[in-house]
């Protein structure tokens, strides 16, 4: 396989001091960063051609580079678009270029706003997904699981494992994450036992999630894959929406993913992990404060009204404080549960869904999708069809088992 060439269209990365981090992340996934070569005249003509007037010269250069990629003057397999975090003009340009490149070139695109603290590790999963989409289209075209395969998803909060045979889930294990390998072993053993399958009978195994590299070595996995690709495939598979557009939302324990999907292949995606107030952890803390099990929080929320509660912050600490204040004033537990779900959905909507094209159906996955109040809040916010497929909590494991079956035939 030739090296994947990722065209970088950015402003400020060299002055932020993180250009080598971008290049290092690309290198780690077998990709190479290239910069579209542009003449001065092309930079000066870019605004008129693109139709967007900007004042910063480096943003004009970004426009010219985007045009070069779309018009085929630059050959690339994927595109990385970046601007400085908190630059309003940069954000406008980044968003418009992302849309433009995605719509006009069909190349996989990722956009990111960086600070001086951005590291290669932060970018690695995104870069891995970008290159996978570029180089493994045939694998991603798989719509059915075949043979006897296993998938393990080593998440930040829980570890999931599934055993699949001939397009059916035979059994699964779902345990809290402690030690990466021990939790994976436990979940896998449960899945095998529930399936009545001997370990040696498994023909291929795929791993994903934060601990995927460790699991890959330990389980001698056929597929070691980041969550963007795996969850996209898992979501369209479980929701039976292989063809056409869809948006996958995964509110995780540590970070959230929003992925715009076409025919099961991720197009534009974002990963957020800055604020815990938009994570499953916030819902877990709310359930604890309300004295209910996390599995009961969703039903409680459905019976409540979020607007009855005043939430002044998205922060996990101040958000909980708002809920506690409401409880001290006699608020109904149902309303508090609904407000917590709405707060998480609203934050995902405001901070992440603005960066992807939200196209129906919206498929919510991950353990949090089972907290009924959350998909309901998302439905209200988006005014769109929101699907929670069966086994939504196993999305990464199912996606891994599905994709790894491609290795049996190979």
């Amino acid at each position: 396989m030739n090296e994947i060439e990722v065209a970088q269209i950015s402003c400020g990365s060299e002055y932020t001091g993180i250009q080598h981090e971008i290049e290092s992340a690309a290198e780690q996934v077998g990709a190479k960063i290239i910069f579209p070569d542009i003449d001065l005249e092309e930079v000066e003509a870019a605004e008129a051609k693109f139709g967007l007037k900007v004042t910063s010269p480096d943003l004009k250069l970004m426009l010219a580079r985007a045009i070069s990629v779309v018009e085929g003057h630059t050959t690339a397999d994927a595109v990385f678009i970046g601007t400085c975090f908190r630059c309003a003009e940069g954000a406008l340009v980044r968003n418009e270029i992302r849309r433009y490149v995605h719509d006009k070139s069909g190349l996989p695109v990722i956009s990111y706003s960086y600070t001086e603290r951005t590291t290669a590790d932060t970018l690695l999963t995104r870069m891995e997904a970008l290159t996978t989409i570029a180089k493994r289209r045939s694998l991603l075209a798989r719509e059915k699981q075949s043979g006897l395969t296993a998938g393990i998803d080593s998440g930040s909060t829980t570890t999931k494992a599934v055993i699949m045979q001939d397009n059916e889930i035979l059994g699964f294990g779902w345990v809290g994450s402690t030690d990466v390998l021990e939790s994976a072993e436990e979940a896998y053993s449960i899945a095998l036992s529930e399936s009545g399958i001997e370990r040696d009978a498994v023909q291929a195994i795929g791993v994903t999630g934060y601990g995927r590299f460790m699991l890959g070595k330990s389980f001698n996995a056929d597929l070691v894959q980041e969550e963007i690709t795996v969850n996209s495939k898992g979501a369209v598979y479980l929701a039976d929406r292989h063809k056409g557009a869809a948006t996958v939302i995964d509110v995780g324990g540590m970070d959230n993913k929003a992925i715009s999907v076409q025919d099961g292949i991720p197009g534009i995606f974002t990963m957020g992990g800055i604020c815990a107030g938009a994570s499953g952890r916030f819902l877990e803390m709310t359930a604890k404060r309300l004295g209910v099990d996390i599995t009961e929080l969703g039903k409680l929320a459905l019976a409540g009204k979020a607007s009855n509660i005043s939430m002044n912050s998205y922060c996990i600490v101040f958000g909980i404080q708002s809920l506690v204040n409401s409880l001290s004033k006699g608020a109904r537990h149902e309303d508090v549960a609904a407000a917590a779900c709405y707060s998480v959905a609203e934050q995902v909507f405001e901070q992440q869904l603005q960066e992807v094209e939200v196209r129906e159906p919206v498929i919510m996955v991950g353990g949090t999708a089972l907290i009924e109040g959350l998909p309901q809040a998302m439905r209200e916010l988006l005014q769109a069809e929101v699907i929670v497929p069966p086994y939504a909590q196993l999305i990464g494991a199912v996606g891994s088992a599905l994709l790894s079956s491609g290795f049996i035939e190979e």
Binding site: C11, G12, S13, E14, Y15, T16, G17, I18, Q19, H20, L40, V43, E44, T55, S56, P57, D58, K60, L61, T83, C84, F85, R86, C87, E89, G90, Y114, T115, E116, R117
Partner: protein
Amino acid sequence: MANIFIYPSNSLILYDLVERFGHKPLAVMQEIKKRVTTAGIDSPPLNITPEDPKIGLKYAAVEVPAGVRGRMSLLDPLLEDSEAAILVEDAPIGFGCMGCQRTSELVGFLIRAKRIPILELSYPTSDDAAENFVYQISEFLNGLGDGKEAKNE
């Protein structure tokens, strides 16, 4: 000989003019050269490291984009050493640019706040305006006192 801050800070034409009139141009190329020739720093292409935007906090708070603060760390020694300045507005990219309009706005403000002699010019768009442009620069630089007369070339 005075230290003349020029903006755009990488303008070769301004650099050359200042030098011809016997003063010392303060340009960003000098700062970049220092970085790329310093052994032990490995942060290509400019050898700006993630520490530099922190130096830029001297001029702009943390809510200002890191790219602006990184540029300010490059310009910091130039601003510090400047005794006079020539600023050219609305110049085309080929004349020189720092890439970021927000940086340009901040630099313009900071240099004006220093209360040093400043010549502010618009980029010339005709031959006559170009002659006048060079003339104004020569008058400004000669008026700074200890600069040499322009070479008659």
